[in-house]
């Protein structure tokens, strides 16, 4: 019997496929998310749009919030640690959190090094905006990936950019010859073996979800259409007018992402989605996606 193997860690992410993982800030929201059909919840002190509004340093949530959420739902509970913050990650692991998001949404604790995730029993998910970042995170032990997008903006454009880029890069790598692969590994800053795997299989070795800017059922379906394995919704649900309806609609649109009549049906009378931010209005320092490359 062996715990914490890569297959056990990445397999857990495989079980989330086709599902929606929702950000929640308390037990009540966690119950709403579970009842709406979320496959997991991300327990946070503040959703990304509030983190933007509040400014200052964003850290791991108060363990009380995480514990409270773990108590009321039977689905997996994820929580965020700052990039490179080994101790926040160990604390979350000790509490029995099911998945840790080493996340650029929080203020990085280390501007150079990510956590060496192989040494943990708990699996990690990390953000990536291109194939280089994706394979570097896998090399460090991430068992699940997600696009970075631009969190807390309610604007899908960056998540689309990242997913299209990664999938385009995978198609390019598939067509390279062996000698070109060596150079491509150097250019991307990734280990040759992982790149060879992508070349041979035409896919990443772990699940890749969409995240960062999903605000409507149609946004979620768009990301599935573009090849995401599932969807994280952060501020989109509990910053909307009617979280319960929004949550249910996003779950259904993710499952039936090519059934446009159904998406039309579930999108009716949802009320106002979160307001959203035009990306070009963000200052360079406000771009979370540029953290931890």
């Amino acid at each position: 019997m062996e715990t914490g193997t890569f297959r056990v860690k990445s397999g857990m992410a495989e079980m989330q496929k086709g599902g929606v993982i929702m950000d929640v800030m308390n037990a009540e929201q966690a119950k709403i998310a579970e009842a709406a059909g979320a496959t997991a919840v991300m327990a946070l002190e503040r959703v990304p749009s509030d983190i933007r509004a509040a400014g200052g340093v964003a850290r791991m949530a108060d363990p009380t919030i995480v514990e409270e959420v773990m108590k009321v739902v039977s689905i997996p509970v994820m929580a965020k640690a700052r990039i490179g913050h080994i101790v926040e990650a160990r604390v979350l692991e000790s509490m029995g959190v099911d998945y840790i998001d080493e996340s650029e949404v929080l203020t990085p604790a280390d501007e150079v090094f990510h956590i060496s995730k192989h040494e943990f029993t708990v699996p990690f998910v990390c953000g990536a905006k291109d194939l280089g970042e994706a394979l570097r995170r896998i090399q460090e032990g991430a068992a699940m990936l997600r696009t970075k997008g631009e969190p807390g903006t309610g604007n899908i454009v960056e998540a689309v950019r990242h997913l299209r880029l990664i999938n385009g890069q995978i198609r390019k790598v598939q067509n390279l010859s062996k000698d070109e692969l060596y150079n491509e590994a150097k250019l991307l800053g990734v280990p040759y073996d992982l790149l060879l795997g992508v070349h041979e299989t035409g896919k990443l070795p772990v699940v890749n979800f969409a995240a960062g800017g999903v605000a409507t059922p149609a946004d979620a379906a768009l990301m599935m259409e573009l090849g995401a394995d599932g969807v994280f919704v952060g501020s989109g649900i509990f910053k909307s007018d009617s979280p319960e309806k929004f949550a249910r609609a996003i779950v259904e649109a993710t499952t039936h992402y090519q059934d446009y009549k159904l998406i039309a049906e579930v999108s009716k009378n949802l009320g106002t989605p979160m307001k959203g931010i035009e990306i070009s209005k963000l200052h360079a320092a406000e771009r979370m996606q540029d953290r931890g490359i």
């Binding site: 086709g18 599902g19 496959t39 039936h256």
Partner: protein
């Protein structure tokens, strides 16, 4: 022979790959109309609360009960096992209620307790590689249920006529012997229906 994999949520592609590896034609099933052309159905691993909710929403509860009534085999893995069970510990209601057993969800604990092990299974020669992820256990079974494997004295694989269920994820490994076992069940059922 055509086998469906219920594709509302969960590890669908892996089951399709494993079924194809043992010579079956496999398709993802999202609508009840698709069941008609199938000879067997896999209910995959995923989150049982999500899968159960979506099954109710889209009429799969009645449709799969009819499918079973017609003598067509079902195979539930992990969340799929929970969906098949008559009783779920700590919950008033269950989902399909087709298999005479009581199951416990997340019976080993949280994700950090997830594990893999070599598991002997009745009817399969050598132990198979079994990956248990936030896995359920079968706490008790009725008389017509045949226990196929146990782990530390607890039931993790069982069969009741044309129903097969396991707590672990055979679809996450290259070991396709349990899928081959299910394909045999589908063949036998086909012969009976003919």
């Amino acid at each position: 022979m055509k086998i469906g994999v219920l594709a509302l949520q969960g590890a669908v592609a892996e089951h399709i790959r494993s079924l194809e590896a043992v010579g079956a034609e496999a398709v993802a099933v999202k609508r009840i109309e698709q069941l008609e052309q199938l000879d067997g159905l896999v209910i995959p691993g995923g989150e049982s609360t999500t899968i159960g909710k979506l099954m109710r929403k889209y009429g799969f509860m009645e449709a799969i009960a009819d499918f079973h009534e017609a003598g067509k085999p079902l195979f539930g893995t992990c969340a799929g096992l929970i969906v098949l069970a008559d009783r779920i510990e700590g919950q008033e209601d269950a989902h399909l209620k087709l298999m005479d057993m009581t199951v416990a969800r997340n019976a080993f604990g949280r994700q950090r307790e997830s594990f893999e092990t070599a598991l002997p299974v009745k009817g399969i020669d050598e132990p198979i590689t079994a990956v248990f992820i936030r896995a359920p256990l079968i706490k008790s079974v009725g008389k017509q249920v045949d226990v196929l494997s146990e782990y530390n004295g607890e039931i993790v694989t069982a069969r009741q006529g044309s129903l097969l269920a396991c707590s672990f994820h055979p679809e996450l490994t290259d070991d396709v012997r349990l899928h081959a076992y299910f394909v045999e069940m589908v063949k036998e059922a086909q012969a009976l229906r003919a």
